[in-house]
Symmetry: C2
Subunit: 204 residues, 2 copies
């Protein structure tokens, strides 16, 4: 399903399309014209039609894109059609919020294990998942898990990612607001909430 | 300080530059060559030199950009040189994590009030800030606050933003993972952590 000719820029926009599609799907909408999709994703309809034409999705004139078909196509391309096992490291306030976040499940992510190095947290549960000692991170290798979320304090984020990568992790969502050094083949996405807030004063 | 000729795309990259600059500043580094800055922000040095030349910042050959000067310039452009009063609505797990987030302070944001509609939370404190009833949101107008963070459940996010905008809010960081309808003059940045995780399987 992955089409090598799809440009990187289009791939990067697919999550935004998927999010809008799931949103309208929940509301029972079966087809969506490109100009309505445009409002959700804040792109112009021409860009959307061009992006989606790369993988053979054409909106019917007058009715628009079939929501179910397009959702499935994008999930296939992004490899989201099978559950993605993910571990979480750091069970502080942000980690706890993350572990209980309903959004992950909706997109097929399954937080299978939570790790922390604090004795006061190890053994406790977040939802149904027991917090394990960070010393047990080698479990990841045995369970062939590829994705991790880092919600540790910045001081231990680098050592955490190093251990994770040694144990086979190749994709990291980094919420530690710290730069991480990883081998080239490992993909890191860093989210710093302050960086998102930072743009607002300029526009307001 | 705001230069009308600076392209929008450059403005959007400024937070990444600022983040890298603060990071190296904390480590006592006084000047930074463009190729090193490039590693932090993951852009090519040519792009960086072009971006930064828009506001007269030129790296000296052999030594690079003056970290302190460049930091101040970017802060000025992004209007971050005076404290930005911000309110938080939603004191659940994510809201609590946000309220205690050290990153906001570093960039000059001051969370001056927290609101929630749950009787079990109203009157309690997060850090030094008392959680107030959402019925008291009109305080915002009196205090001329322009920025808000929404960390409510998605079901009440739209009504929350409507009340916020009625009370003078013009910039919103939306963590509710719900689309929000606002007047054109209001800027909303929506962060859905699941959307950040979603790109990783494609690359791993």
């Amino acid at each position: 399903m992955k089409d090598q000719k799809v440009p990187e820029e289009t791939i990067r926009r697919l999550p935004r399309y998927l999010r809008a599609l799931l949103f309208v799907q929940q509301r029972g909408i079966e087809s969506l014209p490109s100009h309505e999709l445009a409002e959700y994703v804040q792109l112009n309809p021409t860009q959307i039609r061009k992006d989606l034409s790369h993988f053979g999705a054409f909106g019917k004139r007058g009715t628009g894109y079939n929501v179910e078909t397009l959702t499935k196509t994008i999930r296939d391309i992004l490899k989201l059609n099978e559950p993605q096992k993910t571990v979480l490291v750091g069970a502080g306030r942000l980690g706890t919020a993350i572990a209980s976040f309903p959004g992950f499940e909706r997109y097929g992510f399954d937080i299978t294990a939570i790790y922390d190095n604090s004795m006061s947290k190890i053994g406790k549960k977040i939802g149904n998942t027991i917090i394990k000692s960070s010393d047990a991170l080698s479990d990841i290798k045995e369970n062939k898990i590829k994705l991790a979320i880092i919600a540790t304090p910045p001081e231990v984020a680098q050592e955490t990612v190093t251990v994770l990568v040694e144990n086979g992790i190749t994709g990291v969502l980094n919420l530690s607001s710290c730069y991480l050094k990883v081998p080239k083949e490992v993909k890191v996405r860093t989210i710093d909430l302050a960086m998102e807030l930072i743009m607002l004063p300029y526009y307001t």
